[in-house]
């Protein structure tokens, strides 16, 4: 393990540490409640590694859902990941043996960290990304293990601690907003994201469904493709601008 990369990655992952320990514990507790102990929690966190996917998994195990249904519901819930890789094709090039693991470990939070990750000077980029991914994964495993073992003993009121995850996304959004520069057009992707997601929440609520992710992503892609010409123009201008 590249200690330098690990040391550089750790501070970046602290928000995920807070978030994953708490929602990982909640998962461990939930799984315990449907009759599967901490070893099951660790197994799932080790090989599935998907937050909301594993919450769903508790229900699927509890109701002894048939395998085709397990596959279908997992696919629907995790469908969004298909879009994540598109932004990391370049970054993951040249990561060698780490690449399969980096792809496997692409949760919402790790994706959010990696899309903005710039390795500090003198730190190997591939090792830096790998360290971020493996640290996040270890927090998730630790959280589910703790939840399944001592979760029920915790008396300290942790209500609200999972807001760390929301705050992490807010911080990343602010960084992206600053990096996009000035001018409304440069912020169109972020604005499209908010509008589509908010619209999807309203619509799926009316239909008493909780799956706002897929309709949001469809709307986002349609709008981004419709505005391709305008947005590519701004991208090109920005690149020319920085090249000078």
């Amino acid at each position: 393990m590249d200690r330098k990369a690990l040391a550089a990655a750790f501070p970046v992952t602290i928000p995920v540490l807070m978030g994953y320990l708490s929602i990982g514990m909640a998962f461990g507790l939930m799984l315990q409640a449907v009759g599967y102990g901490p070893l099951w929690a660790v197994l799932m966190s080790l090989i599935i590694y998907a937050g909301s996917g594993q919450y769903l998994g508790c229900t699927l195990l509890a109701t002894a859902a048939p395998l085709p249904q397990v596959a279908m519901l997992t696919l629907l819930l995790n469908f969004r990941h298909i879009f994540y890789g598109l932004s990391l094709l370049d970054k993951f090039k040249g990561t060698g043996w780490r690449k399969p693991y980096l792809i496997f470990a692409l949760t919402d939070e790790t994706y959010a960290l990696l899309t903005g990750a710039v390795p500090p000077a003198g730190v190997n980029a591939a090792n830096y990304y790998f360290s971020i991914a493996i640290l996040d994964h270890s927090y998730w495993i630790a959280g589910s293990l703790l939840g399944g073992t001592i979760g029920s003993l915790i008396t300290f009121n942790t209500e609200g601690i999972d807001f760390a995850m929301t705050a992490l996304f807010v911080v990343i959004a602010v960084d992206q907003w600053k990096a996009a520069g000035k001018g409304l057009r440069r912020h169109l992707p972020a604005l499209i994201g908010i509008v589509c997601a908010a619209a999807a929440v309203v619509v799926t609520r009316m239909l008493s469904s909780d799956n706002m992710i897929i309709p949001s992503l469809v709307g986002i892609c349609v709008l981004l493709l419709a505005l391709r010409r305008q947005l590519e123009e701004t991208e090109n201008k920005r690149e020319e601008g920085t090249a000078v």
Binding site: L61, L86, D108, T158, F169, I192, I194, S216
Partner: protein, 108 residues
């Protein structure tokens, strides 16, 4: 449910989850350049997706009853303002989260 059935379910969940993550790399990650439209989407998607994930985190707030989503919206604003102002990740995240914990535990 037998142990074997439970293990089978878990393996299916793991396999399908990995599949959703590997598809873009399997399609476009093998040498050469991906189609330009894919490269374009890869470039513009992150801000849209992060914005969507924020809304996703807030999707269960109810504007019309209970606390009207005030603690959530206030803490998102505080986190953002702290970050615009100081630009320190940990300060922004801890500040927003601790305020949120205080609000939901003791105020609302």
């Amino acid at each position: 449910m037998t142990t074997a059935q439970a293990v089978a379910s878990i393996l299916v969940m793991a396999g399908v989850t990995f599949l959703t993550r590997v598809i873009p790399f399997a399609l476009f990650g093998r040498g050469g350049q991906p189609p330009r439209v894919v490269a374009y989407l890869g470039q513009v998607l992150p801000p849209a997706v992060i914005a969507m994930l924020i809304v996703y985190c807030l999707r269960n707030i109810d504007l019309f009853s209970g606390s009207h989503g005030l603690p959530e919206l206030l803490c998102v604003a505080v986190t953002a303002i702290l970050h615009v102002w100081k630009g320190n990740n940990l300060l922004s995240i801890f500040g927003g989260t601790i305020l949120y914990m205080v609000l939901v535990q003791a105020v609302f």
